[in-house]
Symmetry: C2
Subunit: 202 residues, 2 copies
């Protein structure tokens, strides 16, 4: 059954899909009614063909500018830097962010050959410069904690040097609903070093 | 981003893939190198086009008879009845079954309109009849416990009436590594009613 093995092999390349799940998906596809394979194939090809990067924030969009960048009720003076398009969805889901985005599509990684150009950091600088005299900008780094994201943060602050920007980063600490007892050492260390003042007595 | 939403929608129809996983897969597909979408689409279409049901056991195969049915070291006198092709893999993985299979591709379900014809039960009867005078046949029902599988078992024994067959079913009980304390009532009830004699004293 070479063609079944081949299908399982290709499905197994999808993220988070092991060989057991790939086999289950393959059997589902074999069993699916006639149109499904065509619809899925078409959807993949259309998405690949139509979606491009937004000229401003580099998120996926079908037009020159994405819906978020075109939205006038979002301020230009707060820009969240995220690694991936799915992180945009995660930040938006909180409904507590009224700014815009810059999607890196990666992190600085000399080993993988990902440098500042791949992350469009110069375009980020131009974008801030274009705001001109209309006030200061806050750049909020919303990156997953890692060595690469630290290096990326460093590059971003270097790139934006001399501009009226304030760079912040999201808080790392104990997750809501988490328990000190079960948290890893790094998280507790971060939670302690990032402690905030609650009340000062005396 | 209609084309992204459409891709997520189609991926979300796969079994066990919720909207969050579908979104992750969609972003992976958008990000994949050029050839992947084509290779996956081709693999799906080829599998759909080439794979057919085995003339004897109805498992998937690319030829008239599957490799298991053609294998002369597997006995014709022990046939495992399974619901789905993936169950064949599960039984084979034990390396403790030397017989052949009959894949139902479903269970008797009047609501879904699945009757004895869809399960090819008459073909099973003909298959047993074809063995003629060469000895008795054991039909081993390897079905997941459910009301539908009970009804299916009943139909199978009816269909095979008058033939020299013995019908058995796999044991239902406490799983290996399982604990009585955490098992559900139905499992414990089955384990008690299916208890086997260990030693008789006196």
């Amino acid at each position: 059954m070479k063609s079944l093995a081949q299908l399982v092999h290709e499905l197994g390349k999808l993220p988070g899909i092991g060989s057991k799940t790939a086999t289950r998906l393959a059997y589902f596809i074999l069993n699916s009614e006639g149109g499904y394979v065509n619809r899925l194939s078409t959807a993949m090809m259309e998405a690949k063909a139509k979606l491009r990067n937004c000229d401003s924030c580099y998120n996926y969009t079908e037009e020159a500018l994405c819906d978020l960048c075109k939205n006038p009720s979002r301020t230009d003076h707060l820009i969240a830097i995220v690694e991936r398009p799915s992180d945009v969805d995660a930040v938006l889901s909180t409904q507590s962010f009224a700014g815009k985005f810059h999607v890196l599509h990666g992190l600085i990684s000399p080993i993988d050959g990902t440098g500042p150009e791949e992350l469009h950091l110069n375009d980020l600088r131009k974008r801030v410069e274009a705001l001109g005299e209309t006030g200061a900008v806050e750049i909020m780094l919303a990156l997953n904690p890692s060595v690469e994201s630290e290096a990326t943060a460093l590059y971003i602050s270097k790139t934006l040097q001399g501009l009226p920007v304030e760079i912040s980063k999201i808080a790392y600490g104990l997750p809501m609903g988490g328990a000190l007892e079960y948290a890893d050492k790094m998280t507790i260390t971060k939670a302690i070093s990032n402690r905030v003042s609650v009340q000062s007595c005396g």
